[in-house]
């Protein structure tokens, strides 16, 4: 293709004061320069929270400048309907961008924070004057080609940096160069570069996490995200991938039978719900993990209003013969319980297979060592095949 016919990538950035919108625009231009692409950036001051955020507009021609016969002419202003990427640090400002027509369903990737900074009008209300964030997100999904939405304020806080680094990470997948180019540009910043890089990485991770389930109705998307979190917590990331793979098949089948999504992907949503519960069911390993978690001991101590120095014992009663344990470890546990040898910590009792098995342990130690101990084996064998 003739390089002169290639269209520039149009990026519109909206940020509030102090969030580093200018820094972000400069990073993008610097990265474009280091990648050898012509780029241009302008900014229009605004009054965020009253009439609109300060915006920065960047155009990049993704063609090496050296190969062009002459310098390209790039626009100073964004044009409604002709923006490829809109990135905004505040949800209501995102709403304004949509209302102004800069976000279009056929073209625009919208990267937005879900965090809110209340406007003057919202704060002036006598009661609760806050605008419904759900409506803003619905508009974001309805009017864009793709949405990446997450709480950038929290991510920036977590990394100890400004919002700009997180925004840069979140959009880096759309930019026409490698991640390393962005990181090199951030690294030149000197002081604070390390925190910026951490924020950048969080932005990338958040954007990628969302890429998997984009374009779905919100309820279905939320259900899939919750389900994936649950199975990953149960086992590991690969197990989470298996969950998503399985759902992808169901989603494809539902799409075949209901291409207009007239049921809002309810079939996929309900399968996501029950599949997560099934794949991460409360087996004895999980119960042991919950029972021996520090948070539980703290809660129990609080419930019995116990002084910190004294000890208390809790008794956990399992059903007959503890069916979820593999038979071999069950027998060993029963035998060791009687001899009182299992790691010297378990004082379990098992009278017979038809009476409840009880294990007692001090609040301060793991109360079910055999069950916790079999977690590794279970991961490799029984659990992953559930």
């Amino acid at each position: 293709m003739d390089a002169t016919l290639k269209k520039p990538i149009c990026i519109l950035i909206g940020a509030l004061g102090g969030e580093g919108g200018g820094v972000l625009a400069q990073w993008i231009v610097d990265a474009a320069a280091s990648a050898g692409f012509p780029a241009q950036s302008t900014s229009i001051p605004g009054v965020a929270q009253r009439t609109g955020a300060t915006t920065y507009y960047v155009e990049i021609l993704p063609v090496p400048a050296a190969s062009l016969p002459r310098a390209p002419v790039l626009s100073l202003y964004p044009v409604p309907g002709c923006v490829d990427l809109v990135v905004s640090s505040e949800l209501l400002e995102t709403g304004r961008m949509i209302a102004n027509g800069f976000v279009s369903p056929d073209r625009t990737t919208l990267v937005t924070s879900t965090s809110r900074t209340l406007t003057t009008a919202e704060k002036m209300a006598l009661g609760d004057g806050r605008f419904d964030s759900g409506r803003l997100l619905d508009a974001a999904h309805a009017f864009s080609r793709r949405v990446v939405a997450f709480d950038m304020e929290e991510a920036a806080h977590e990394a100890g940096t400004a919002m700009s680094a997180v925004m840069f990470g979140a959009i880096s997948g759309v930019l026409p160069w490698e991640r390393a180019v962005c990181e090199a540009v951030i690294g030149e910043g000197g002081r604070g570069a390390r925190a910026s890089l951490a924020g950048f990485a969080l932005g990338i991770a958040a954007a990628q996490g969302q890429g998997e389930s984009r374009g779905l109705p919100r309820e279905t998307r939320d259900m899939i995200a919750l389900g994936r979190d649950r199975v990953v917590e149960f086992q590991d990331a690969a197990y989470g991938d298996l969950y998503l793979e399985r759902l992808a098949c169901i989603q494809a089948a539902e799409h075949a039978s209901d291409p207009d999504a007239s049921h809002d992907l309810a079939l996929t949503r309900e399968t996501a719900r029950f599949l997560a519960l099934w794949m991460a069911f409360d087996d004895v390993v999980r119960v042991a993990a919950l029972k021996s978690s520090a948070a539980r001991f703290t809660r129990v101590r609080g419930e019995v209003a116990q002084a910190a120095a004294t000890s208390c014992a809790s008794t956990t009663t399992f059903g007959p013969a503890c069916p979820s344990l593999p038979a071999c470890s069950r027998r060993r546990w029963q035998r060791d319980s009687w001899r009182g040898t299992a790691a010297g910590r378990s004082r379990g009792r098992c009278r017979s297979s038809s009476t409840p098995m009880r294990s007692q342990g001090s609040c301060c130690c793991v109360s079910l060592p055999p069950a916790s101990g079999c977690a590794a084996t279970a991961h490799a064998t029984r659990r992953s095949r559930q």
Partner: protein
């Protein structure tokens, strides 16, 4: 077993969205742990095996029957009413345990 259920859901939804949806909801039958969990899975597999090509309403009826009573009598009645075989009787192991002294 999960795969069997998922396959049934996707096959059924290709024929009829409502049927696939009702089968997807049958995932609710698997819950708890131990005997409850095993029984739930058996009921699910039975419905998936014998009713996967039935009407959505039949699948819904069977599911509600299975959730309705613990012993599964209502489920068996629902299965019979729609021409499916009742669930097979499950062998219950009798365990003899040597009495031990601490």
């Amino acid at each position: 077993m999960i795969e069997q259920w998922l396959d049934a859901v996707s096959q059924a939804s290709k024929a009829s969205w409502a049927r696939g949806y009702e089968l997807a909801l049958c995932g609710r039958l698997v819950k708890g742990y131990g005997a409850t969990n095993e029984r739930g899975k058996r009921n699910l597999v039975h419905i998936v095996t014998h009713l996967a090509t039935s009407d959505a309403a039949v699948i819904r009826e069977a599911r509600e029957a299975a959730l309705g009573d613990e012993g599964g009598k209502a489920l068996d009645r629902a299965l019979l009413a729609h021409g499916a075989p009742p669930r097979p009787v499950v062998a219950q192991p009798v365990r003899f345990v040597r009495r031990t002294h601490p």
